[in-house]
């Protein structure tokens, strides 16, 4: 049982390779939990459809490439817009009607939507994955001396960091973001100041969903494009959100990357626990600091 205590420190390349995988996973955790946190802040619902929308982003990129011949770079822009527009439709047609009810109904509604979306894609494409080739500009890799870095993976980490920091900047440092933060605190008062809060809610949901779709496009060349890719990751992201607490944007980013790294390290030192380590950490955090590492007590 305590065999992991006797494992010698693995050779550096293995260690760095797992660190890299951890960072990649962490990039997706961070982007997805960021979207969840933004949506939760304003709409007060946990968007269970988030995983399905991440999957939709990946599929959108795949459709663009396979059916229309549109490549990776345009897909990075088009897919989030298309899926985000779909999100706006969902907010207008469905979520808006239950905004005044118990927040649990929002969870149930978005759960139902996730089932529908996932079921439709499973019916159409089966459960196996579809390959999406890495764009030519990002193929190959570079030897960094201590490890081999596939360029695409490096790009994903850089891109996701960029996306996260931009989102943080927009929310915390711009006028638009100040409206958003104010509406999160007190929507009625903000509306009284002449800001169209319902439209803001709609666009915020669209933006959060677009972020999930963007993560999906980035993920397409790494993981296979599969109808199940969303539900596999969303539960882990929920745990990440519980650990980080949803009070702060920076918290979501830091805990996303951090937990990805922890997961990668667990794979090196004690692989049996790698799929459950995040849930164990969640349990520990709940014991010590129930509001989450960066959360405020509610």
């Amino acid at each position: 049982m305590f065999s992991f205590l006797h494992i010698a420190v693995p050779p550096a390349p293995v260690l760095f390779a797992q660190l890299l995988i951890g960072l990649i996973n962490g990039s997706f955790y961070a982007m997805l939990s960021l979207g969840l946190a933004i949506i939760f802040g304003l709409l007060n619902i946990i968007n269970f459809t988030h995983g399905a929308q991440y999957m939709l982003g990946a599929f959108c990129a795949w459709f663009l490439l396979t059916w229309l011949g549109i490549g990776y770079w345009p897909a990075l822009i088009v897919a989030p817009i298309v899926v985000g527009a779909l999100g706006i439709a969902i907010e207008r047609l469905l979520l808006r009607h239950i905004a005044r009810l118990d927040h649990l109904y929002g969870l149930l509604l978005t759960f139902g939507l996730a089932l529908v979306i996932e079921g439709v894609f499973r019916q159409g494409f089966g459960a196996s994955g579809l390959p999406y080739t890495i764009p030519s500009a990002l193929q190959g890799g570079r030897n960094l001396g201590f490890m081999f870095l596939p360029i695409y993976r490096g790009w994903v980490i850089v891109a996701s960091l960029g996306v996260c920091l931009t989102t943080w900047f927009v929310i915390e440092r711009t006028r638009l973001g100040s409206f958003l933060r104010a509406a999160t605190e007190n929507p009625t008062l903000v509306q009284a100041f002449g800001i169209d809060v319902p439209r803001m809610v709609m666009l915020t949901y669209g933006a959060g969903v677009g972020l999930a779709a963007l993560a999906g496009v980035l993920a397409a060349p790494i993981y296979q494009v599969s109808p199940l890719m969303g539900s596999n990751i969303i539960i882990v992201v929920f745990a990440v959100v519980v650990i980080g607490g949803m009070g702060s944007i920076l918290g979501a980013i830091v805990s996303g990357f951090g937990l990805g790294l922890v997961e990668g390290m667990t794979k090196v030192f004690y692989p049996e626990a790698s799929s459950t380590v995040i849930f164990v950490i969640m349990a520990l955090v709940l014991l010590v600091k129930p509001a989450g590492l960066f959360g405020r007590a509610t």
Partner: protein, 325 residues
């Protein structure tokens, strides 16, 4: 507060009629289908005890049903224990798991509670996939039903049916009794207004945890029985889709009604039965039902029908003025 005599009479009539129906049902319908539906109905009732009466949405109840199913299947098959001991072992493990998960999850409320239970249940699902005794993707198959108390042969389908019916009625009665007890009044008070219940001197967390453990144990009872009925404990039993499905059953039937989860379980199981050949259509239709229920049908089948089926006409919610005066 006591039930009105007219309502009590109506309830008695309905109870007798439904039990009578359940007694003759296997002569008209496929018994294994009925047994499976009864197990899921008990599972849904256990879930409803939390959602309907304590106001806690657990999104990880499959963990309790599934772990009990695995324990019963393993003890009965590998150790050759009699079915009653196997079921007790399954229920005990589900209760212990429920105590641990409940202890962690009640630290947060509302949406967080749902997410935490979901994540903890996913841990159980990973464990079931990787642990040495659970059979991985295959699950534990060909579980023997054995002889109840040593002399009642459960391999006979009709005997097994009445055995399952008895277990279901036992579980149902426990829930009914719990909700109508002083304990039940306190958990309902916590659901309505937790700070107030605390200010009245009730330790809300302790009540919530007790209700959670009871719910987990009963979900385990359902899972253990189901493992014997179907000769199988599989990854489906611990999967998050099963947790979602029990939410759906309760929602369709009527949250916070006694018979709602039972009706919902039969409706959803019937639907799954008919659509089993159509691949992912089951998932799609379940999703659509979820959306429709949340948008337009939040009271559920029993919640809508109940006023017409009993002579009770007054609204369920007590008038606030009577409470504050």
């Amino acid at each position: 507060m006591t039930l009105g005599s007219a309502k009590r009479r109506d309830l008695l009539i309905w109870t007798v009629a439904l039990i009578g129906l359940a007694l003759v049902a296997p002569y008209f319908l496929y018994p294994v289908f009925l047994m499976r539906a009864l197990c899921l109905a008990l599972f849904a009732c256990a879930f409803n005890l939390l959602l309907g009466y304590v106001g806690l949405l657990s999104f990880g109840h499959a963990a309790f049903m599934g772990s009990a199913a695995y324990i019963t299947a393993y003890t009965v098959k590998a150790w050759g224990l009699p079915p009653e001991i196997g079921i007790l072992a399954g229920v005990a493990v589900a209760a212990v798991l429920g105590a641990a998960f409940g202890w962690l999850a009640i630290r947060r409320q509302g949406i967080y509670f749902a997410m935490i239970t979901l994540a903890l249940a996913q841990m159980v699902a990973f464990f079931a996939l990787e642990a040495p005794f659970t059979g991985g993707e295959d699950g534990i198959q060909a579980v023997p039903r054995g002889h109840f108390l040593g002399f009642i042969d459960l391999d006979n389908t009709f005997t097994m049916y009445y055995f399952v019916l008895a277990i279901f009625l036992l579980g149902f009665a426990i829930i009914q009794r719990t909700v109508n007890s002083p304990f039940g009044q306190v958990i309902k008070a916590i659901r309505e207004n937790e700070p107030r219940a605390i200010s009245l001197g009730y330790r809300a967390e302790r009540y919530k945890l007790q209700a959670f453990v009871l719910s987990a144990a009963l979900a385990g009872l359902a899972g253990s029985t189901k493992a014997l009925v179907l000769h199988l404990a599989s990854l489906t039993d611990v999967d998050w889709t099963t947790s979602g499905s029990v939410v759906l059953m309760t929602l369709v039937g009527g949250v916070g009604t006694f018979l709602g989860p039972v009706v919902g379980a039969f409706v959803i199981t019937t639907m799954e039965n008919y659509l089993a050949q159509t691949g992912s259509w089951v998932t799609i239709i379940e999703g659509v039902i979820f959306v429709v229920c949340v948008l337009t049908f939040r009271r559920g089948i029993v919640g809508v029908l109940a006023p017409y089926l009993t002579s009770e006409r007054e609204p369920e919610v007590a008038e606030p003025s009577a409470e504050t005066s």
